[in-house]
Subunit: 110 residues, 2 copies
Amino acid sequence: MMLEKTTRLNYLFDFYQSLLTPKQKSYMSLYYLDDYSLGEIAEEYNVSRQAVYDNIKRTEAMLEQYEEKLLLFQKFQRRQEIMTKLRKYTVSHEKTNEIEALLVELEKLD
Amino acid sequence: MMLEKTTRLNYLFDFYQSLLTPKQKSYMSLYYLDDYSLGEIAEEYNVSRQAVYDNIKRTEAMLEQYEEKLLLFQKFQRRQEIMTKLRKYTVSHEKTNEIEALLVELEKLD
């Protein structure tokens, strides 16, 4: 699997997993976070490898559709860039610790 | 209609309207943004007042379910609070204009 695609899907899963069914969540989590193979997931759930494959492909398409509509990942990336610039200006500020604490709070909301 | 409830639903509609069907969007937009009555919407779409009412009630419940799962409105409110505090620290900073421009960019992402 291409690393870039995996990273993107990890992020999308992170942002939209609350919108998935429990089964979709389990398959995606085993496949993308725990690095199980399709065959291993099929064995674990006592279903065919093809069934697991189809479910994961459908879930990936759903995650991309949610991202197309809500743009949470895109906005997250944009926020990160802005945060980097903000830190450059505020690092030498007399209130730098207080400001940094607020920036960390902001990041926790992503 | 209670003002507080209207404000909340306006925000939820803003955050999640991309997940609604075109009909749901039209009814909600006429009712909450353009202040049409149920009867006026029913006439416009040539359906019963009850059908419009049911559709809007279902949509409101969907919006609340999305909020329960994704918390976009809650996070938005939290971000606003943090922004207010950030501005207090940065208003007298030598780079205050550059910082303010970045904060405005951040807010545009909400």
